[in-house]
Symmetry: C2
Subunit: 167 residues, 2 copies
Amino acid sequence: MVRIRPAERTDVSLILSLIRELAEYERAPYAVRATEEDLLRDGFGPQRRFHCAIAEWNQEPAGFALYFYNYSTWEGRAGIYLEDLYVRPRFRKRGVGRSLFIYLAQIARAENLSRIQWQVLDWNQNAIDFYERLGAKKPADWQTMRLSAEAIEHLAAADPLHCSVID
Amino acid sequence: MVRIRPAERTDVSLILSLIRELAEYERAPYAVRATEEDLLRDGFGPQRRFHCAIAEWNQEPAGFALYFYNYSTWEGRAGIYLEDLYVRPRFRKRGVGRSLFIYLAQIARAENLSRIQWQVLDWNQNAIDFYERLGAKKPADWQTMRLSAEAIEHLAAADPLHCSVID
């Protein structure tokens, strides 16, 4: 029996374990630099940067969904951006992932949000199939781009030449 | 002479005009359903869903950058997601777009954010070239997926079968 509940402060150690398990599954086991302090500050502090739902199967932690609010200027409404969704291998094929999506959809409906969006690794056909069964589509034509911390540092230090950038 | 400043409540009409001009440029002139009320509520109300910077050229509105905070569970830090960046055609080739990016990079550095991320239309080679000159990279392997409002409604109404989803 699955139960979805909002994460609490006491869950940060569990959340970090789940983030690490997901990174391993994504073939990036050393990519996680986050600490419990980071998650406590950003998920449960005064400046909340993410929200998290925990899935339990008979009281055992089975998975999680971690999300934040994005914004559509076309819709004029916020939406949910799903940063991480993960179900532990031994709890798969029981509707846990689907229940996490239903939970998010119920939040989106209750808060009048425009959409739920996320990214999937393009080799993860199992996940893509699962998402398409839920009704998800791939918006065409958009390519993600990113400035890393190094590029930011470089750019922030740039002399804006003839510009008064910040008063 | 370019100047970048944070948007104020009195800018919502200008912001909506810039959002519409950008949608036209993106070949989706009828996609904008947002109203001034939406932008006032979500950009300047108690629950702030986006932030906005206005670029001026000799006091004339020349462009804007609209962004919100995303979150990296690998980094354990928030980042900037740049939803919209636009420079009006007659103000191009003067460093306005670059100045908007410098402004964002300075915010990212001051707030210890992990990265700046956005999406670009894959046919917009001018924009891709500009971003690459700023130091941006395309992270490989990730495919965007999305649940529309209709799909959310459908899913939120789903009977989660044997599941107690929300208490």
